[in-house]
């Protein structure tokens, strides 16, 4: 299945892009997605533990099972205000 991934804040600089498409096997989780992304973008690996992940507009944990068409967003800790 294909998963659209969007990067925000300095994750765009680390990856050199604002978005990408990853292909995962059915039943793949956010943890699986992070494994693929850190292999492709090693700079993200250093941020793995503090990376926040949303599917659509809601936060999800690493065990969340993704489905075709999910829009995943990855970003560093937020800093509003």
């Amino acid at each position: 299945m294909k998963i659209a991934v969007h990067f925000y804040s300095y994750f765009k600089d680390l990856t050199g892009s604002a978005e990408t498409i990853e292909t995962l096997p059915p039943g793949g989780t956010i943890a699986d997605l992070l494994n693929q992304l850190t292999a492709r973008f090693p700079e993200l690996g250093a941020m793995r533990n503090s990376t926040l992940v949303a599917v659509g507009v809601d936060y999800q944990g690493r065990g969340y099972v993704l489905k075709e068409g999910d829009e995943v967003s990855l970003f560093p800790p937020v800093q509003g205000g």
């Binding site: 804040s9 507009v57 809601d58 937020v78 800093q79 509003g80």
Partner: protein, 169 residues
């Protein structure tokens, strides 16, 4: 720190999820509501590229007769950020998610405090030093709940609302 093995990655991911769950527990249980009223709170949320006009916002304030407290807070861009002199901060938002997360927080405020209204304006784009980047107003019957709700909202915003800043030196 990079994961040194698949097992280590899985352990880190479980720890991450657990830490997130514990933080939510602390935020939602230990800071329990002191009131159980569920009024319909008037909400106004603006995420904007335009400067925040505090006088215009104040002039549009509406309060019913039973309200005795207005607390408002303005967050202003400092000239020093992480020990460096700066001249501005650029704010970036994942706007649909920011709006959704703000509305979840407003809904939680309804459950926790008997407030009448909340208005919040957050700048995006470049904000110069000494200019406000955030303006929050809470109207409630008494100062206690107004202060508590306003502070809680700002604390939670800094935890969950996807807005980031980039200082310009």
């Amino acid at each position: 720190m990079k994961c040194r093995s698949s097992r280590r990655c899985k352990a880190d991911d479980r720890i991450h999820d657990l830490r997130f769950a514990v933080y939510d527990l602390c935020a939602n249980v230990l800071r329990a509501p002191r009131f159980t009223r569920h009024p319909v709170v008037k909400r106004q949320l603006t995420i904007t590229l335009e400067p925040i006009d505090e006088a215009a916002l104040a002039s549009k304030r509406k309060m019913s007769d039973g309200m005795g407290a207005v607390v408002y807070f303005a967050g202003v861009v400092r000239a020093i950020e992480e020990n460096r002199a700066i001249h501005a901060i650029e704010y970036e938002a994942f706007q649909p998610m920011a709006e959704h997360q703000f509305n979840l927080l407003f809904s939680e405020m309804e459950k926790r405090w008997p407030i009448e209204s909340v208005r919040l304006v957050h700048r995006i784009g470049v904000v110069q030093v000494n200019q406000p980047s955030l303006w929050v107003e809470v109207v409630a019957p008494h100062r206690g709940e107004a202060f508590a709700a306003c502070e809680w909202l700002i604390d939670e915003m800094k935890r969950v609302v996807p807005i980031w800043k980039k200082p310009f030196v």
